[in-house]
């Protein structure tokens, strides 16, 4: 009885279509622990563009007026 149930259950699970939107956007626990351990270090790599670059972009925008 148990075997029949398991076989039927596995058949349903294995053949069930998996929608991408239903895939859990999570990492395995080990990966998450490691990721969180390096997050602070990763944050130190953040950089910003030069002000000159921003000014050039804003000047380009103003040229549309």
């Amino acid at each position: 009885m148990g075997e029949i149930f398991t076989n039927s259950f596995n058949a349903v699970i294995n053949n069930a279509p998996v929608k991408e939107s239903e895939v859990r956007e999570n990492l395995e626990a080990d990966d998450l622990i490691f990721y969180h351990s390096i997050r602070a270090e990763l944050d130190l790599l953040k950089k910003r563009p030069k002000l000159q670059t921003i000014h050039y972009i804003l000047d380009h925008s103003k040229s549309f007026r």
Binding site: E20, S21, V23, E25, L27, E28, D31, F34, Y35, S37, I38, R39, A40, E41, L42, L44, L45, K46, K47, R48, P49, K50, T53, I54, Y56, I57, L58, H60, S61, K62, F64
Partner: protein, 194 residues
Amino acid sequence: MDFQLRSDQDLIHLYITGDEAGLVELIRRYQSKIYTSIYLLVKDEYLAEDIFQDTFIKVINTLKAGKYNEEGKFLPWVTRIAHNLVIDHFRREKRAPMVSNGDDFDIFEVLGNYDESTEDRMVREQTHKDLKTLIQLLPSEQKEVLIMRHFGDLSFKEIADITDVSINTALGRMRYALNNLRKMMQSKEMSLKN
């Protein structure tokens, strides 16, 4: 008017209707995420500045032309533009932006090369500089996902859309990236306790 409290959509609407402050706030909000993502992929500050600038010029031209699809989110859209410009650059340069791009990537082969040239520097540099170096050693697909996830703050769904792969593939690449970083750090006996 406190622009910092406005949604991206509000700021875009303000900008399209003539208020430059909407664009200023969008740039202020996302400049670091977008610039860092570009910089870590191209590894050159001047080139990153150029691509960042070109990215926002495309953004401005699209918004001003009324072609922006309001259903999409702003950051993934801008990241996609930046990503495409980075790819265009490497196509023009005809050079690969990474050590290895193949499925047969072996992290220990890379570590062998890495040992010879930079071992002494590894000892002296601060941990975050080491980590930056290790990120550059990842295969481009793995590096891309790590950068977009962490620095771009994108979901795996958004990363999958931008890189034209399934969510599972994007997720798998992130796992490989983390595993490879962990292996490299263990191999180098790097510590993140500081």
